[in-house]
C-alpha cells in the first residue's frame, strides 16, 4: 500500500458533485466538453471536496492552463488536480504547466518545442498547494511518461494490473520512488468490461473486490463513474468500511525526487529536527517561492526553518549550531535592508509563525506581541483599545527586526522609539537556553536587545507598554524643491520648532528631465481637532509652493495599513547608507542636495527623531545616538557610486541607524565606543562562538 486511499466520483453534473461532497467522498472528477468550466463551477458550489479536471489539450494552451489551474487552486484553498490524456505534445505540456506554476523562479519561462512555443512567459500565480498532474494512457509509452513525470496515472482495473510494473520501472529510472505516483482506478459499472465474467464483484463495490487492487497493484484512488445518488451513497459507505479495515498508510510524505535534486551542499536535510520537519521549506518545495526572497532582495536559501513555538526555536538553533560553516539568517517580516533575512545556500530561521498578540494588563497598557506579527497587524490589534505603538512607516515590516534595532516611526517625537516601549522579552540564546530579560532579569541582555538584539538571540515574545492614541492627522504634501538645499534647511528648522505631536519625513528622488524638482513631505499630527492639525502643519505647508496636498483624520492603524498582499519577490542587491544628525545645517544640506542631484541614489529620505527619543539617556539602551533630530537614508544600486556620493555627508553625522544600512562593516558607526565595548563584552558572554554572525556581527575586536 503506497498511499492513503481516496474515493471519488467521476461525474457529469454539478448536482452529483455536491452530493459526492455531502456523502463524504474525497474528490470529484469531470471530463469531456467544457470540463474546466464545469469544474470551476463545481468549485464554487462545494467547500471541501478535491477537484480533478481531465483537460483536452486541443482546447487549452498549456501556459494559460497553468494560470487557470493556479487560479482555481487559490480560489479553493488547494483543491485542484489536473489530468491530461497522453497525446502528442503532452510531455511538453506537462513541462510548461509545471514551469509556469514555478512562481519562485525569478526568470521568465521559455520553451521552444515541437508542439508548443512559449517565448517568455511570466511565471505564476503561485498556487495554494502543489498541483498534481495525472496522466492517462495504458500503452507502454504513456505509462513510461507517467512514471517519469506525473504525480498520478489513471486507468481501468485491468490496465492497472497490466501496467503497474512498468510504472515502477520508469519511475526508478529517473530516481523517483513508486510512491510518488498515485495510481487512480476508474470503476465504470456501465462499461463493456463490467459485463465480463468475474467483473460483477468489482462493480458490486465490495471490499473483497477492491482489496487486491490496493494490495497487489498499489491502487491509491478509486473513481466511480456515476451521477447516481444511490451509487454515490453506497460508494461512500464502502469508503468507510475500507478505511476502517485497511492498515494505516506510510507516515511521512516523501520528498519527491525533483525536490531532493535541488538540495544545497553542506545542509544535513535528513536530520532536520522532527519538530520542524513538517514546516521546513527547501528549494524544491512549493512554499519556497513564499520564503526565499525579501522585500528588496532576491534570495536562495538552502533551508528555511519555521518554528511555531519557543521550544522549536531552540530546536532550530541546535540544528544551526551543527552547521558552523553555513550562512545563517533570521527573518521576521523580510524587510531587513541589510539583506540578512535571506541568503544563498544557507539556513534561514523564520519567526513568521510566532505572531500571537495579547493584552497582559489593560490598566498598564501592557501587551505581548510575537516576533512574526507585522506592524499593520499590531496597529489593528491595538486600535479597538484606543492604543498605538509607534513602529516604522510601513505596515508590512515584521515586529522583531524593528523592535530589536530601534523603530523610527510616525509618533517618534512624541512617544519615542519602539524599543523605548519594551518592558521585557523572552528569548532563546545561542546555546539554546530560554531566558527572560527586563530591567529586573538579565538587565545586561535587556540593554543589549534594545538596539543590537540580532547579535544576542531569537526573541520569541515582546512585552510592550503602548500609548493612548486617538485619531491623528496624516498629511501628504508635495512641494516644489527648486532649491533642494534651502528646502532641507527650512524643513529641518520647521521640524525642530514644531511641537512633539508632529513627526514625519521628507522624501526626494533624483531630478527627472522635463519635470520640476519636488519633495514629498509626510507628517503625522497627534491631535483630533482639525484646526489644531492644520495649524501644526502650517509651517510645513508654507515651505514652498504646494503641488499637491492631502490631509486626513485617521486612526494610527490607517496610516500603517499599507502592507502589500502576498509574499515578497524582491530582486537585486540594493545599497543603503544611513546617518543620524542633530541639525540640517546649510553645509549638510548643500552636500545632501549634491547627493540627490548626482543620480547615484534613487531614494533619499529623512525621518524625524529627537523629542521623546532624546529623553532617554544614551547609556540606557544599546541604541545610543539619542541626540539626533533626524535619521537619514539614501539608497542606490552601485556600492561604489553610492559611497562616493555619500562620503561628503559623513562628516556631519553623529552615528547611524542599523536598520537603514547595508554596509555590514559599519558596526562602529552604529554604536559609540562605550556602547560598542559593552556590547562586545556581552557578546563574548552570551554568544562566544558567534552563532549570530551574519547581521552586523559585533565581532571580538576589543
Amino acid at each position: 500500500m503506497l498511499h492513503r486511499l481516496e474515493f471519488g466520483a467521476l461525474v457529469t453534473g454539478a448536482g452529483a458533485a455536491v452530493e459526492a461532497e455531502r456523502r463524504g467522498l474525497d474528490l470529484v472528477a469531470v471530463q469531456g466538453d467544457g470540463a474546466w468550466t464545469r469544474l470551476s463551477w463545481i468549485a464554487g458550489v462545494t467547500e471541501r471536496i478535491g477537484l480533478v479536471a481531465q483537460i483536452d489539450l486541443a482546447e487549452h494552451a498549456p501556459a494559460v492552463l497553468a494560470r487557470s489551474a493556479a487560479s482555481l487552486d487559490l480560489l479553493t484553498g488547494g483543491r485542484v488536480t489536473l489530468a491530461l490524456a497522453d497525446e502528442p505534445g503532452t510531455a511538453e505540456a506537462v513541462e510548461i504547466v509545471r514551469n509556469v506554476l514555478d512562481a519562485g523562479e525569478p526568470r521568465p519561462y521559455r520553451h521552444l518545442g515541437e508542439h508548443y512555443r512559449v517565448p517568455q512567459a511570466q511565471r505564476g500565480p503561485l498556487p495554494a498547494h502543489r498541483i498534481a498532474i495525472w496522466l492517462t494512457g495504458a500503452d507502454a509509452r504513456s505509462v513510461r511518461l507517467a512514471g517519469r513525470t506525473a504525480e498520478g496515472w489513471i486507468g481501468t482495473p485491468d490496465e492497472l494490473a497490466a501496467t503497474g510494473k512498468l510504472l515502477d520501472e520508469a519511475a526508478a529510472e529517473v530516481g523517483r520512488e513508486a510512491a510518488e505516483i498515485r495510481r487512480v482506478v476508474i470503476l465504470d459499472p456501465r462499461a463493456a468490461s463490467a459485463s465480463e465474467p468475474g467483473a460483477a464483484d468489482l462493480f458490486e463495490l465490495s471490499v473483497a473486490a477492491l482489496l487486491p487492487l490496493v494490495v497487489e497493484h498499489g491502487a491509491g484512488t478509486f473513481l466511480l463513474r456515476t451521477d447516481d445518488p444511490d451509487e454515490l451513497r453506497r460508494f461512500a459507505e464502502l469508503r468507510e468500511v475500507v478505511l476502517r479495515e485497511l492498515p494505516e498508510p506510510p507516515p511521512a510524505p516523501i520528498k519527491p525526487a525533483a525536490v531532493r535534486a535541488k538540495r544545497r551542499p553542506g545542509i544535513d536535510y535528513d536530520n532536520v529536527p522532527a519538530s520542524l520537519a513538517a514546516t521546513a521549506v527547501e528549494p524544491g518545495d512549493l512554499d519556497y517561492a513564499r520564503v526565499r526572497s525579501t522585500y528588496m532582495r532576491g534570495g536562495a536559501p538552502g533551508l528555511v526553518l519555521r518554528p511555531r513555538s519557543t521550544g522549536e526555536v531552540a530546536d532550530a538553533l541546535a540544528f544551526v549550531r551543527a552547521h558552523p560553516g553555513v550562512p545563517f539568517g533570521l527573518r521576521s517580516g523580510g524587510h531587513g535592508m541589510s539583506g540578512r533575512s535571506t541568503n544563498d545556500g544557507g539556513i534561514v530561521l523564520s519567526v513568521q509563525a510566532l505572531d500571537t498578540m495579547e493584552v497582559l494588563d489593560a490598566a498598564e497598557r501592557l501587551v505581548r506581541i510575537g516576533p512574526g506579527a507585522r506592524w499593520a497587524d499590531v496597529a489593528r490589534f491595538l486600535m479597538p483599545y484606543g492604543w498605538a505603538l509607534s513602529s516604522g512607516d510601513y505596515g508590512g515590516v515584521g515586529v522583531s527586526g524593528l523592535a530589536t534595532a530601534g523603530g523610527v516611526g510616525w509618533l517618534a517625537r512624541e512617544h519615542g522609539l519602539t524599543i523605548d516601549h519594551l518592558r521585557a522579552v523572552k528569548m532563546v540564546l545561542a546555546d539554546g537556553s530560554v531566558v527572560r530579560a527586563s530591567d529586573d532579569e538579565n538587565p545586561d541582555l535587556f540593554w543589549a536587545v534594545r538596539g543590537a538584539g540580532a547579535n544576542f538571540g531569537v526573541v520569541t515574545s515582546f512585552d510592550f507598554q503602548v500609548d493612548e492614541v486617538g485619531d491623528v492627522g496624516f498629511a501628504q504634501l508635495v512641494v516644489a524643491a527648486d532649491d533642494p538645499a534651502d528646502l532641507l534647511v527650512r524643513w529641518g528648522r520647521a521640524i525642530e520648532a514644531a511641537p512633539r505631536t508632529l513627526s514625519g519625513q521628507l522624501i526626494m528622488g533624483p531630478p527627472r528631465p522635463g519635470q520640476p524638482a519636488f519633495a514629498q513631505l509626510m507628517a503625522v499630527v497627534d491631535a483630533a481637532d482639525p484646526s489644531v492639525i492644520v495649524d501644526t502643519l502650517q509651517p510645513l505647508a508654507q515651505l514652498a509652493p504646494l503641488y499637491n496636498q492631502n490631509v486626513v483624520l485617521t486612526p494610527y492603524a490607517g496610516i500603517v495599513n499599507n502592507a502589500a498582499e502576498g509574499y515578497h519577490s524582491g530582486q537585486g542587491d540594493p545599497v543603503s547608507r544611513s546617518g543620524l544628525i542633530e541639525h540640517l545645517t546649510p553645509a549638510f544640506a548643500k552636500a545632501a542636495a549634491e547627493l540627490i542631484a548626482s543620480g547615484a541614489v534613487h531614494w533619499f529620505q529623512i525621518r524625524t527623531v529627537g523629542g521623546a527619543v532624546a529623553d532617554i539617556p544614551p547609556a540606557a539602551t544599546a541604541y545610543a545616538h539619542r541626540s539626533a533630530n533626524f535619521s537619514i537614508v539614501a539608497m542606490g544600486s552601485s556600492e561604489r557610486r553610492v559611497d562616493a556620493a555619500f562620503a561628503p555627508l559623513r562628516s556631519h553625522f553623529d552615528g547611524m541607524y542599523l536598520s537603514f544600512e547595508t554596509g555590514l562593516d559599519h558596526v562602529a558607526d552604529a554604536f559609540p565606543p562605550p556602547t560598542l565595548a559593552r556590547l562586545r563584552e556581552l557578546k563574548r558572554r552570551y554568544d562566544p562562538a558567534g552563532l549570530f554572525r551574519d547581521n552586523f556581527a559585533l565581532g571580538d575586536q576589543s
Binding site: 467544457g34 494559460v64 487557470s68 487560479s71 482555481l72 480560489l75 512562481a103 511570466q122
Partner: protein, 295 residues
C-alpha cells in the same frame, strides 16, 4: 439627446486579483448591481485566469450577470470561447454575456506563445471569431460549423452547446474600424472612459461610427448596446465629473445616458463600499432621472 431605448444596467469592473475578485462579485450580487465584469490579461501572472474566476464567481452568486471585460481573443480559441460561455450560461441560468477584445499588449501575447497581429489584422480576426462563435451557438442550423478564414479554420467543428439565453457579444471598441465591426456584427460596445482621449464627449463619435455601420448592415442602431466603464471618487463635496456625492454622480451619469445613449455604467472599483453606494444610491437615482426624461 440620443437614446437607443435600452433598460439601464449598473455594474462593477473588478480587478481579477488573488483574494478579492470572487468576494467582490458576491458583494456586487448582494448589493443589487446588474453586472460584474473582470478584465482579462492572461500574460499577467499576478492576476487570476479571468474565465476560471468568472466561472467560480458565477457559482457563488445567484442573480447578477457576469462577463469578461473584455476577453483576450489572441490567447483563446473562438470555438472554445463559444462552448465555455454556453456551458456556463446553462449552469448559471442565463447569467453570462460575452465581452470580447481584439487584443492589446502584443508583447505579452507573444511572450505566452500567441500570434502577434497588427491592429487591422486583429480586427479582421475578431470578425472571424464572432462568426465562429455565433455558428457554434446556433444549434438550429444543421451541419457542422463552416468557417475557414485567414486567421481561424474550424470548418467541420460540431455545433453546440447553445447558451441558455440569447447571449450578447460586447466588444471593447474605440477606433472607427473596430466600431464599424461592432455596428455590423456585435450586440454592444464597452469602452473605458479613461481611454477616451477627449473624455465623455468622444462617445458621440463612437456612436456615429457604430450607427452608420449598423445601418449599412441593415441593423437598427439599437441592436448595439452602448456600455461604459467608468471610474470616479465618492466625496462629500462635488468637484468635477464623477467626483462628488452620490447625487452628483447620478446627475453626471443621467446626462451621459441622455446625451449619448449609454445604457450601462460599469464602475471600476475594488472597494466594496463604493460598489454598495453605486448600487444603493446612484443606480436608482439615474434610473429615475432618465425615466423622467424619457416620459
Amino acid at each position: 439627446m440620443t437614446d437607443y431605448g435600452h433598460d439601464l444596467l449598473f455594474g462593477a469592473f473588478v480587478t481579477p486579483s488573488a483574494t478579492a475578485g470572487a468576494e467582490l462579485a458576491v458583494v456586487a450580487d448582494r448589493a443589487g448591481l446588474d453586472l460584474v465584469t473582470f478584465q482579462d490579461h492572461p500574460y499577467v501572472a499576478r492576476f487570476h485566469d479571468t474565465w476560471t474566476l468568472l466561472s467560480y464567481a458565477a457559482a457563488r452568486t445567484t442573480r447578477i450577470k457576469l462577463a469578461a471585460n473584455v476577453l483576450n481573443l489572441p490567447l483563446r480559441q473562438p470555438a472554445v470561447i463559444a462552448r465555455s460561455h454556453a456551458t456556463l450560461d446553462r449552469l448559471s441560468g442565463g447569467r453570462i454575456e460575452l465581452g470580447l477584445g481584439a487584443g492589446a499588449f502584443w508583447d505579452g501575447v507573444e511572450a505566452m506563445g500567441g500570434r502577434r497581429l497588427t491592429a487591422g489584422q486583429s480586427i479582421d480576426a475578431l470578425g472571424e471569431a464572432i462568426d465562429i462563435i455565433r455558428q457554434v451557438w446556433d444549434t438550429s442550423t444543421p451541419g457542422p460549423v463552416r468557417a475557414s478564414g485567414a486567421y481561424y479554420d474550424v470548418s467541420g467543428a460540431k455545433r453546440g452547446p447553445a447558451p441558455a439565453h440569447a447571449m450578447s457579444i460586447w466588444l471593447g471598441a474605440y477606433k472607427p474600424r473596430m466600431l464599424r465591426l461592432a455596428g455590423r456584427a456585435a450586440d454592444g460596445v464597452v469602452p473605458s472612459l479613461s481611454y477616451l482621449p477627449g473624455g465623455i464627449n468622444d462617445y458621440a463619435d463612437l456612436n456615429r461610427h457604430i450607427d452608420e455601420a449598423a445601418e449599412a448592415a441593415a441593423r437598427p442602431p439599437a441592436a448595439v448596446r452602448r456600455l461604459l466603464n467608468i471610474n470616479g471618487t465618492f466625496s462629500d463635496f462635488g468637484r468635477s465629473f464623477l467626483d462628488g456625492p452620490a447625487e452628483q454622480w447620478a446627475e453626471d451619469l443621467a446626462g451621459v445616458a441622455l446625451d449619448h445613449g449609454v445604457s450601462a455604467f460599469i464602475l471600476a472599483s475594488d472597494n466594496p463600499a463604493d460598489l454598495e453606494l453605486f448600487a444603493a444610491e446612484v443606480a436608482p437615482a439615474v434610473r429615475d432621472l432618465v425615466a423622467a426624461e424619457r416620459a
